[in-house]
Amino acid sequence: MRPEFPLEEGTRAQPPAPWRAFAVPLAFLAPAIFFLGVWLLYPTVRTAIRSLYNDRGDTFVGIDNYRRLFNEDVIFTAIKNNFLWVLIVPALVTSIGLLFAVLTERVRWAVAFKIAVFMPLAISLFAVGVIWRLMYQQSPERGAINAAIVAVQGVFSEQGAFTQAQPSSDQLEGRSPRAIVLAEPVQPGDTALLGLTGVRASEIPEGTPDAARPEPLQGGISGVVWRDFSPGGGTPGEVESGETALPGVTIELRSADTGRTVSRTTSGDDGTFAFEDVDPGSYRVAVGPTTFAAPFRGFNWLGESLITPAIMFAYIWVTAGFAMVIIAAGLAAIPRDVMEAARTDGASEWQVFRRVTVPLLAPVLTVVFVTQIIGVLKVFDLVLAIAPGSARDNATLLAFEMWRKAFSGQLQFGLGSAIATFLLLLFIPFLIANIRRFRTEAR
């Protein structure tokens, strides 16, 4: 009987046959090569070739699609935005991660803190986008961020009685939110009729009576402020039945000459007001701006100017935790005695950080930084989820634009392929940098 083992004692020491030296590794690598070839290499090459054809794919157009990259405004915005992202975000993520890592070293509940910061990474980027889209809503009733700002703001500023009110006729000048002034000056003994529209019936306190023409006041100025509106419109400027009085409105009496406010009062429950014992002269009656002081409406996070910073922030919120964990691991690995020695030599904490910790961490920081550049270049889901349709052109990034041109029903496959290839070219330097570094580390 032959032994079970096909290899005999003597053959072991000899070098394997040349074809074997090649075939065995190949056999092991084959599955990987197959999958990479089918799912990575072929699509990449095919995309690059596709980018030289027109959108329908039947005509060779050379580099026309690449020219379009720089001629179409929206794609150019995408290139510009990608540039901004690469410039800002990786640096911020790395420094915030570094900050967190160093700080968590010296707080008590470090693990809890780390988990909290790391948690967003467990959420899919698209879900993150949905969360932030809701948080960023402008209306404080819907958007958490503006709601918080408004809550703080509300402590310091007061809301007026009728924020949307406007003059009802040209007997009054000015528009809210500034003061609304009676056009004709009045003398003591006259009455002032201040008709406002744009007031919701539901804004007026329950039980407020209809407005009535005020009685003239001897030596004083009397008047009424009322909701100059009845169903169908009514006659502007006239107090008619069914038109409600407006209580709680700030009324200012201003000198007609100087425009200075000489007296101030508030309309009563029946909408009337009176300035008694007014010096002779001519005056103007105004509804003070405090009546119209609108509550803070919130920042327009999803508007065209803030949308890119808003999306960047959401991205940083997700990835700062990742950066922190990597950097913290690096931090744990650097020798403590060097830092102790620096401290013993009288270095301040800042100097230790600046001169010892950071240089020792440099390789780890580079890893995080380069990884982030690559991560930033492919941001797509956040733009799709956060930017409302009206701000997409301002928020767009190359990866997003690629999808939009090719797949969102536009069928511009040539242009989409060109964007994808261009994006690939942008990746290559960073990929090479990363591979180089791995090699040096391996050595």
């Binding site: 899919s124 402008q138 744009g198 797509f380 409302p388 009206s390 990866a399």
Partner: protein
Amino acid sequence: MRKHRWYLLFALVLVLSAVAAGCGGDDEEGGADTETGGGEAVSGSINVLAVWTGAEGEAFQAVLDGFTEQNAGVNVSYQGAQDPGQVLSTAVEGGNPPDIAALPSPGLMRDFADRGALQPIDFARDAIADNFAESWLDLGTVDGTLYGMFFKGANKSTVWYNVRAFEDAGVEPPEDWEGFLENASTLQSSGVPAYSVGASDGWTLTDWFENVYLRMAGPEKYDQLTNHEIPWTDQSVKDALTELAKVFSDTQNVAGGTSGALQTDFPTSVTQVFADPPKAAQVYEGDFVGGVITAETNAEPQTDFNVYDFPQINDSGPMVVGGGDVVVMFKDSPAARALIQYLATPEAAEIWAERGGFSSPNRNVDDGVYPDDITRQTATALAQAEVFRFDLSDLTPSAFGGDAMFSILQDWFRNPNDVDGAAQKLEDAAARAYG
């Protein structure tokens, strides 16, 4: 991560298609000897892909069940896709489309027809001509060949209003555009903004424009503009934009003001009209607004919400701008033909109509089957319209009508007085898209 999957799926489709292309060069022969569509028993199995998901998907499944009852030998599997344009363009690029699909726009149908991906459905021409107004037949035709049958329609000339807000302000649904603008100012005086605009979704703005343009410029110019035979810098476009600016530049009268409206998506633009207190008195959009109101608010028809036709301008007479989902055939087979024939019948449409949320362009559908008066009103207006024009943005190349036009009108919405600038930008984008 999601994006990554897409790549994989895309690559998979590509590989499969390469394999398929390599193995079976021409298996289209099967369709040649199948001229007879209905009548005879057909069998086979067909895939249907359409825009309808959720409750709409269930309703369409019920329609398909009606088909399989008649044709027990056919196995129909239905797949709903939120974005069929994307799914189909990938599938077509990969050479593996479903047998039948419903596309959300005839522009997409034209794109696919131009790429040679669609099979003609001329065999159903008579059935379609019997049941649909001629304009629907025209819309399903590309270069003289019939490719599409409109199964579901949308009347996009309807204004939905909060009945209470109208009563408080003492206004009635307007007779014409002047009345519409007058109402708006009365509504504002009553303390509620007149308009709710979902400008975050660019298509709401294109719909506004199309209604005003059709009424001011007339159907012929509308068709010319659709085909880009007149430029977007034409005076008629500028006139329509100027007229529409009377609405959009009245920013105090738009719920949330300009920036608020630009962040308001379509569903919110509807629900905020029926909130308490209402953020606006009325919202313009298509008949599908009714579905949003019933699904997302507690408003009751007639007592809380109601609808009126988009007002006529300069005695234009009543006109309807509409939309629709068009059924097309990617792979020819007897079973697929039978299904197309079936979908063209009033009976198929009535199955869905009964369930609500559906307007059939089929004029022989019995209007008694619509579940309520409001649907009956909007659906009948659509099927019986004398001047009917399809949503212009859906007829233009999708790079224009599905993208560039949105953002240009949104920019214009920020500054509605720059009519010339907007017209020029539209023309530039159109020139690029029409190529």
